[in-house]
Symmetry: D2
């Protein structure tokens, strides 16, 4: 099969090893990813961000294919038992395609909103391992052990650590695709890096004394800029997109709507058109796999729309605002003085008081949103830098840029409040 | 306001004239366009094609803004009563943003599927003119005559014909945006042209003897390539995307599902979760504006999903196939011998017979799909080409390429049939 | 070796077969191409067009490498004696790199200006075959027959016709690189096509009955747009760049300077700083290979600059104008009436008369410039189109666009005259 | 006038204020920039880097034009006496075009090679102010004071400090163009930033109490990423291109050739074809403006080529190597231990000793090359960051990235030595 992709240009899976991709694409579970956007509510801030987890999954498999080609170019340097076999390549391609198969609509929001909720990684595991899924059937028909192997690989476990890190690591195929794809869809031009150059700069680090498979390394003379720009691309995407105030606000509102709805259901308020998975959550039980797989962006949006006519005013109001894009506003807390735990807790209390005075339920109308990321941490990855001479070194030790970013955290602290009380709160807290 | 767009980069509406855009964007009717994809089912063939009519509407307004800047640069050449006024600019911006406001999900499919159905242009007209709409309210608050003026302009009527053609003509702002946007989202690289160069090459044709406003012209020494590549971009998009067999098949299947559903409803088969607009159609009455505006891609997909469990097997089966992306296959008829009306009718009959033999309802399982477009027709547009000396000339007379394409039609004829009987039909008709 | 290229991104020659490239790059003759611009005087019209034949040569070798990869992916379909061998791949890479090695500065101009001059193809042949050249030495050290094989391949002769056509044919690697590179450097955005998609769409045509190696074919279901856009890209580049009036004028002036200089030398006017190759031409003998290889853009420009102070006023004046970019102006003849041979000859005579009256030597001050190209001619190439069913067909028979362009010629006819008499001439001939 | 640029797309100078550009472009001094490459010897490392100072000059004027548009959009916020007048705009356009007019071939190399040599800024000043230049004549014909005003502005002096900084500052129009242009030509993709977004994010800082014109500011809510990516683009270009070992080596070799040549001339060794400017330098006098303007890349290359046949073996050898691209090799000193002054001096002495032993003159065969840059220094610029509320702040205080780079210096220390003694030296110094 061959298809056009706006990010990678041409995507082809034509060899025998790659044929697993085409069979997996035909499954219901992978097709469901067409109905889940990669960036949830982000299109409210960046109108172009409508791309789906399906396109991302295909792109990730493509990046893995290209990486596997590169690994085979360079694995002559290894003893044959450390080289990438045909079976391992198939596993890696499947793992790349399926790495996000367990995501629901706006997953991160979901997972924190639903009590007892199961993280998407667990759903991924279930979908791959549960014999009722199409995905499982396709994998098992290839080889009965394949589902288990693929599940382990997705979880970052493999006898070849370099392959495990390629699926789940600082510079993994997932990130390689989503950074480029999110940049393409949003139009944020800072999110680019040079994938081809990155792959071409890969080497294997020298063999360890204990004979274990060596980690991947970057050729310091060629590829340092490739990983520097990768880290920066990710940092820019966090600053510009993933931490965007409108997205964070919309996610928070949806989470509040969901909490409120569960609360209503537990109080026996009947809610129209509520999916079985939410009813399960309200009843304190885990949804079944089938119930979970019914969820997608369309179902979530349809549900929020239906709840606009619920009898619970608070719920109805949040849902209406969200659909009409009347998003809550953000008040950013800046500087150490405003952001340290006690200060932000105080600001939040002040905001809640003002909300109450204005007749707005503070639980659903005042959020304290803390977003944080560490762009680069040398201690978290095994990618090393090698030169024609001398020992392998850590990126943070040889890169001017990464040395200065190493271990540093980026944090954004915001209050999320309805527009009508925003100025009052801003004044009260002096932000 | 200022936002990032993956196609145009930076989009800003900051001047007084442009503030109408921000107010219109906040309306329910414009926000609804977020829930309707620009290219309907095309993402089944091009996974990136998830972009919405909302992003296109914003992009079209942006192109109009840039065009208006250009018109003001060059309208000094005109007597002042033919120049673009501030009011006309506002009208034009609003018309650009709203030109597709009446679209429903997969509109073209809808319009042919529903009896008595109203074309999207009529819905556009109603939304702009109906005093119950947010859009109407915003326009009328600016000036009570504005809704009527904008509606006329969207329909291609204006006292300045050059402005009318800019909204609805061969090289209109709608096409300028959608060609670039569809190319960006699908990754089809042939669909590009140079918008900036096109605008910069615009002039006014010499004034006619009767003093009527002159049409727009292209500076032949500068801009011929810009309009040639525009026409070619559109031709490529038709060949590669708009006429893609998978899209055409999916649209046809959705149309069949809808017809079948109406048929069922008229036969009093109860269908789950059917939107009021469809019920109205089944009852032989036009949907109300409110009912119509409830329709969007999510609602359509939700409905098709719900119909999977309807008691009508034919309906359930088509809906299941569509959701699982088991699309009907195409058999392309090529050459005069296969495509002329009698031959294609005969092929269709043969296919229907084979369908019947296979126990498949031919009405919903065998389609004859004829797609046609005329890439360039000199007689349809008033854009002329001017040089520093000599009279204005027609593009087809001065362009090597356009001269050879002028008036020529591109046609694709296909049978659309279930995969399981495809080979049998292909053999029987010898295609 | 690995290097960055603004057109192809990353260029790497790392395998054994590819190592010939690195050795050839180190030769004096290939390094000389750094000093010859790909597009001669074009940078006078497009300031970015400073790219060299060296960069083009490297890019062409890169395209050949990618093509060779593709041919090896698909040549399993052939009997083994028709497949691409390792030796043939090396020959093809060398031929791609060296295909233009014989070019001098502004070659096309040279060849028509110098009597007895030898076309660049002959110089290429000599450089490859002459045992005094570095290039010959490198090739022969690989294999004594290699120079001869490479020379034949550059000339389009090979036992595998599909390889011969890849080096010299309608869709050859030379064009693949220069179209993209010229577009990149000039900024003319119409000159793009999708190289990766083109390669991926290649197949072998079915084997002929006589067992001869099959020609390359395009998969009609995938790749028609790739070759259509290739043809269009080339057409656009001719219209916008290669036939640009400023370039044509500058080339004509340089040609006139050279003719005049030879004339002077034959009349024993001593010219300062004249390269040996020009002296040879004046003496009526062919330059030696060594003399020829001394020529490059720097030498040509230095010579023209030195001639500004020659005692021949006509020569000095043309050289001064050219360096100061006071280019002669063009009067375009349009339509059948102006362009047919008698009419254009008459226009030329009129221009010469006016030139004489103005005291300007008509031989060096009035040019009749006829530029012509046939964008696509189905009878000239063996690339066919294949489908999953049915016989191979000609591109012009299956492509809407190519069918309409097939065999059609694009011609531009211009008078080239000094600016000071341009208007007078224009009036006199009524153009 | 309107022209195509590969970096900015379309460049047009059409208004009255902009007409100065067209007149200046016709001058000999600006046309001379066509013959000087922007990046000197860099094309030896990046084959695409053939772009000229002429293209950069035009691009810089274009960026200034766009900036002036933006300044006029926002200068309503200022008292009218601080706004950009029409005259100041013309001055700024001329200054942008002419800012590098005094550059010679490979200028930085020149300035350090020639004793008594005058920095290019001084030549720029002379060209603008000397009444014999075409440039002066054009400027003075506009207004007799214009040459002086333009010269002051190029030097970063202006009554509107924000305009001075736009011509010569951290984020000046020169850098805006060269970063994009160098990235485009080399293919180094990390060197991009978003120029349009940068301009759009500009504001004026609040008026100071003393009423002086406010500096430019960035809207912190919109434009922080634009200046971050600007700084990073520059840093990447330094790391990847400007400090590239092959370029630095070639520059060093050219400098040695020049020193050696001057030395020879002073010793009365006759050198063939030596330009008057070099002769002047050897004679211990400054070249005249006319002599200086005769220098360009072609002349320099021609001279080095001519010196290949000089009787001084050392000079001839360096020139031959340079032309054949047999560049000296680099040994990078890394880490504090190797780079501190004493250690590097010791390494250099060792290398000189080995050179002597090998019979190679150490003065011309062993270089110690120290390249250094400070990517961002908050104390050097007046660009501040403003928010809707609160005081203006320094970029380093509000940007996660710039805060970590502020004041940090990037340094590369290398020995430059002939390839034949490279390994011996590397071993001896243990690098």
């Amino acid at each position: 099969m061959i298809l056009r992709d706006p990010v990678h240009g041409l995507i082809a899976f034509e060899s025998d090893d790659e044929s697993i991709i085409e069979r997996l694409l035909a499954t219901r579970e992978v097709q469901r990813l067409r109905r889940i956007r990669q960036l949830g509510f982000t299109s409210l801030a960046y109108p172009g961000a409508e791309h789906t987890r399906f396109a991302h999954a295909v792109g990730t498999a493509h990046v893995m294919k290209r990486l596997a080609y590169r690994l085979r170019d360079i694995h002559e340097a290894l003893p044959f038992w450390h080289r990438l076999s045909s079976q391992q390549t198939r596993d890696a391609l499947a793992a790349a395609l399926l790495h996000d198969i367990g995501h629901g609509p706006a997953s991160h929001m979901f997972e924190s909103a639903l009590p007892l909720s199961v993280p998407h990684e667990v759903w991924t595991d279930r979908i791959v391992l549960d014999s009722s899924s199409d995905v499982h059937r396709v994998l098992a028909s290839e080889d009965p052990d394949m589902p288990a192997r693929v599940a382990r690989l997705i979880a970052g476990q493999h006898e070849l650590p370099y392959l495990a890190r390629a699926v789940a690591g600082t510079f993994d195929v997932d990130r390689c695709d989503y950074l480029l794809r999110d940049a393409h869809a949003t139009g944020v031009r800072y999110g680019n890096f040079d994938l081809e150059w990155f792959h071409r700069s890969l080497r294997f680090a020298p063999l360890a004394a204990d004979g274990s498979p060596p980690p991947l390394a970057i050729d310091g003379a060629k590829g340092l800029a490739a990983i520097e720009s990768f880290v920066l691309a990710r940092l820019f995407m966090f600053q510009q997109v993933y931490f965007h105030k409108a997205t964070r606000s919309a996610e928070w509102m949806a989470r509040m709507a969901l909490s409120r709805a569960l609360h209503c259901m537990r109080d026996s308020v009947r809610l129209p058109n509520t999916p079985a998975a939410f009813v399960a959550a309200a009843e304190g039980r885990e949804p079944t796999l089938g119930e979970y797989l019914e969820l997608d962006d369309g179902v979530l949006m349809g549900t929020l729309h239906a709840w606009e006519s619920s009898r619970d005013d608070v719920l109805a109001s949040i849902c209406k605002r969200l659909r009409a894009r009347e998003l809550f506003k953000s008040i950013e807390l800046v500087g150490e003085a405003q952001c340290e735990p006690k200060a932000r807790a105080r600001a939040w209390e002040i905001a809640r008081d003002i909300s109450r005075e204005a007749g707005l339920d503070p639980d659903t109308h005042v959020g304290l949103d803390i977003a944080t990321d560490t762009p680069f941490d040398d201690s978290k990855d095994t990618l090393v830098v090698v030169y024609s001479q001398g020992a392998a070194r850590k990126p943070g030790d040889v890169s001017f840029l990464l040395g200065r970013l190493n271990g540093e955290s980026l944090t954004r602290v915001r209050l999320i409040v309805p527009g009508e009380i925003r100025d009052r709160i801003q004044q009260a807290i002096g932000a």
